[in-house]
Symmetry: C2
């Protein structure tokens, strides 16, 4: 499964464990400016006692053209270019989920695994084309044509337990599964020590969800 | 387009140029033992005067499990494990074409391109699941769900002009398009100076095609 260091993928990891899977976390070091998320991924892998945690380097900076990897400012609350209401956010990394799922598929195939997991979520991030249910379904079809196992053996399954959940529901699930929520980092533009900025779209969505969760608890 | 340094992808590059496209060649430095193919890719890019040639590093050795990237001997003529008649060759790299096409898709999206090219060939390499026509068609469908352009703009097209050609037909097309055939390298296990071994399955297929081509010419 793809482990980014954020809340969503950490929740998927814990969900897969509850379903009885042995979990290998794959993190991609793709030149992201929020590289502290890789440290968060390592903390989560340790806290959840994953079977393995691999970090693969991939220099997506060759492509440019995204606020996450190129030298463009991350939009903050109040900016005209802010993500939340835009159709497709400027923080979108070209073909990122296609690339990352392909790498997870390669890893799965090389280890004889039949199950992939990714923390995509269609509601909060509907602006990303590669977070939508029809993308997810199509990738699963592709995986079963692309690989030895998919063609000859047991079908490959793509697990996306968060696909239709709200951020609040994800946070509820995370707490239910004892995910180390404080170890996760969602911020697109954290300080070098890993402190969330509190202003980017990822932070704002998470803060909204945390406020709703507190309210729900009380 | 994906440019490996082999005959097939060089032929696709020249074919795309004849079709009127500006061509960016993307080569993947994936820890392959036949890294001299990257030098061949650079020679071909220069000889064909491609618009750009990019090399992207991707450490697939994290996965292991393939003769091309792990420490397993490449099968040679006469070996019991030789590829040619096997269903799926041991030189298969897990999910390679899925991964490489995804990277090409990311590059295309970041550059505003709508066309991808890859030198897959269904006849000679039918043992690779990710060289088959239904895989290619499914990837094109995925590309159009995965990207901003595919979803909102002009559809993305995946060009596979060699898909149904024999090795002999590819060689004929290569000569017709003035591909620098001598600069290409198909061998899975070349010497450090780039000399083909003449014995691996890729060499045997190419030598057979060259013999047929000579015969056809005379």
């Amino acid at each position: 499964m793809l482990l980014s260091g954020g809340l969503d993928s950490a929740t998927v990891a814990a969900w897969l464990q509850r379903e009885g899977y042995s979990v290998i976390g794959l993190s991609i070091d793709y030149g992201q400016r929020h590289a502290v998320e890789l440290q968060a991924a390592a903390r989560i892998a340790a806290a959840l006692d994953l079977d393995e945690h691999l970090v693969m380097r991939l220099d997506m900076r060759v492509f440019g053209a995204s606020a996450l990897t190129a030298d463009i400012d991350v939009p903050k609350a109040g900016d005209a270019s802010s993500d939340v209401d835009a159709d497709i956010p400027v923080t979108y990394v070209p073909a990122r989920n296609t690339i990352f799922l392909s790498l997870a598929l390669g890893l799965a195939e090389s280890r004889g695994a039949h199950d992939l997991g990714i923390g995509v979520n269609a509601l909060d991030y509907s602006g990303y084309p590669d977070c939508r249910p029809d993308f997810v379904a199509k990738f699963a079809e592709l995986a079963n044509l692309a690989t030895r196992e998919g063609v000859e053996g047991r079908p490959i399954e793509l697990h996306t337990p968060l696909l239709h959940l709200s951020k609040l529901e994800i946070l509820q699930l995370a707490h239910e599964l004892h995910v180390p929520v404080a170890d996760t980092i969602s911020c697109y533009d954290p300080s070098v020590s890993g402190t969330a900025c509190g202003l980017c779209d990822a932070c704002r969505l998470r803060l909204q969800a945390e406020a709703a969760y507190e309210e729900f608890q009380s």
